[in-house]
């Protein structure tokens, strides 16, 4: 379970998270929507411990992410994150991209790491690209490789930060299909997205962020059909 308790976070004078409370249970899919600069992406990097927080608490399976004695490297092994920019390791082949962390972080033997990598890459439809370098892949393929790379660590939770935003429109579908597949398999996910149709389709709950505040959270049918928050109403009207 991921528990976010009254989290505040500022960059200089700009407060980007203004007391966020959110609990995500095992197997749940929560999508986060909202305008640019509303704090959605920052929240994900805080959950992963990549960004410190100013106050509040984030607990992952009871472990406080930002506690001084928390082994963040170990905690991150159970929280996979995929970013808007896929951030492939350009000097490694697709297979090496996916095997690197299992080998070096988990200490798995090469053969075992490769077996896991092949399984995950097959899962995301890249079984025929194992020996290719990322530069030879399309954006959508690189993003799917990034998803396989995170999945190869066998995480309990997956965080997706606008994973389709940097893709050409014709490549968005293949990545969303991968996320749909993960959701249907019961993966616990928090997805920051601008894809409203996707959010409506896969989410158990949808959260709307506005200026650092979680203005509304509800099951998708309720949130999209009868939004309560005025800013959410404006946002949905603008995106439809």
């Amino acid at each position: 379970m991921i528990e976010i308790q009254n989290v505040r976070k500022s960059f200089g004078l700009l407060e980007v998270l203004k007391g966020i409370d959110l609990t995500v249970s095992k197997g749940e899919v929560v999508t986060v929507i909202g305008g640019s600069g509303s704090g959605k992406s920052t929240l994900l990097t805080c959950i992963n411990g990549l960004e410190p927080i100013d106050s509040g608490k984030i607990l992952v399976d009871g472990t406080e992410v930002h506690a001084k004695d928390t082994d963040l490297n170990k905690l991150r092994q159970k929280i996979g994150i995929v970013f808007q920019q896929w951030n492939a390791f350009p000097h490694l082949t697709v297979l090496e991209n996916v095997t690197l962390a299992p080998r070096k972080v988990l200490g798995l033997p090469k053969a075992e790491a490769e077996a896991i990598a092949v399984k995950q890459l097959t899962h995301v439809g890249l079984a025929d690209k194992l020996k290719d370098y990322p530069s030879r892949l399309s954006g959508g393929q690189q993003q799917r490789m990034a998803i396989a790379r995170a999945l190869a660590m066998s995480p309990d939770y997956m965080l997706f930060d606008e994973v389709t935003s940097a893709l050409d429109p014709q490549l968005v579908g293949e990545v969303l299909d991968t996320l749909r597949m993960l959701a249907s398999e019961g993966m616990t996910m928090i997805c920051v997205t601008h894809e409203m149709k996707f959010a409506r389709e896969v989410s158990d709950r949808v959260a709307f962020f506005h200026k650092g505040v979680m203005a509304e959270i509800a099951p998708p049918a309720q949130l999209f059909e009868s939004p309560q928050d005025i800013e959410l109403q404006k946002f949905l009207a603008a995106t439809h």
Binding site: L50, N73, A101, V105
Partner: protein, 216 residues
């Protein structure tokens, strides 16, 4: 018909000088590169303010002409009674000179590795050391290589200045022959050719590695 008084023994004398050039360059570039990597990583890690004293010292080695550094360094080792010979003194000064330039190359190369790529590595649970070893080092090496090859070739030519400390390297050996044989154009041409033959493989190695890595 072209005639020269230069003998095979004279040519061997030049090649021996070239061997000294190679030795001074090899030791200085190796030591300077190791120090440059260390200082470069320190500069990136501790930030510009804390690294200011180190940067200032390295700037001295980058700013003062190498000849002055060699003469002052030699004088310092005499005054401090370190008992260093010309070879050791030359290598120490040239190593620091190389390190000063290499530090900037390394710092620039590490800074050029996209922070988002490093963040992706850390998000997979990699430690700082694993990130440096498996992501930053290979990517920064590719970025730094052309500059490092240029530095190495520069140091090889700059090493000719160690003749002022009494070392008989390639240029000094040529000067001795010019004085004795009075054939400056021919001897300096041979000297230049040897410098080229020493530099060419290094330059080609750089080109080969760049081409190989560009297939990534």
């Amino acid at each position: 018909m072209f005639n020269t008084a230069m003998t095979m023994s004279d040519l061997m004398f030049l090649l021996k000088g070239a061997g000294m050039t190679l030795a001074v360059t090899g030791v200085s570039v190796a030591a300077g590169t190791v120090m440059g990597i260390l200082f470069g990583v320190i500069r990136v890690q501790i930030g510009p303010w804390w690294a200011a004293p180190l940067t200032f010292i390295l700037d001295i080695f980058r700013s003062v002409p190498l000849l002055i550094q060699l003469v002052l360094g030699n004088a310092f080792q005499s005054i401090a009674k370190l008992g260093w010979g010309p070879f050791t003194t030359s290598c120490v000064i040239l190593s620091l000179y190389t390190a000063a330039y290499c530090t900037e190359i390394v710092r620039g190369a590490i800074d050029a590795v996209p922070p988002t790529t490093r963040r992706a590595a850390r998000s997979l649970g990699m430690t700082w050391g694993q990130d440096m070893r498996h992501i930053v080092a290979p990517l920064a090496t590719r970025i730094a290589l052309p500059s490092w090859i240029g530095l190495t070739l520069g140091v090889m030519k700059d090493s000719s200045l160690v003749l002022w400390l009494g070392l008989i390297e390639l240029l000094r050996a040529s000067q001795i022959l010019v004085t004795r044989l009075q054939e400056p154009l021919f001897i300096l041409t041979v000297c230049g050719l040897i410098y080229f033959l020493l530099s060419f493989p290094v330059a080609r190695l750089g080109g080969y590695l760049e081409k190989r890595w560009s297939n990534d």
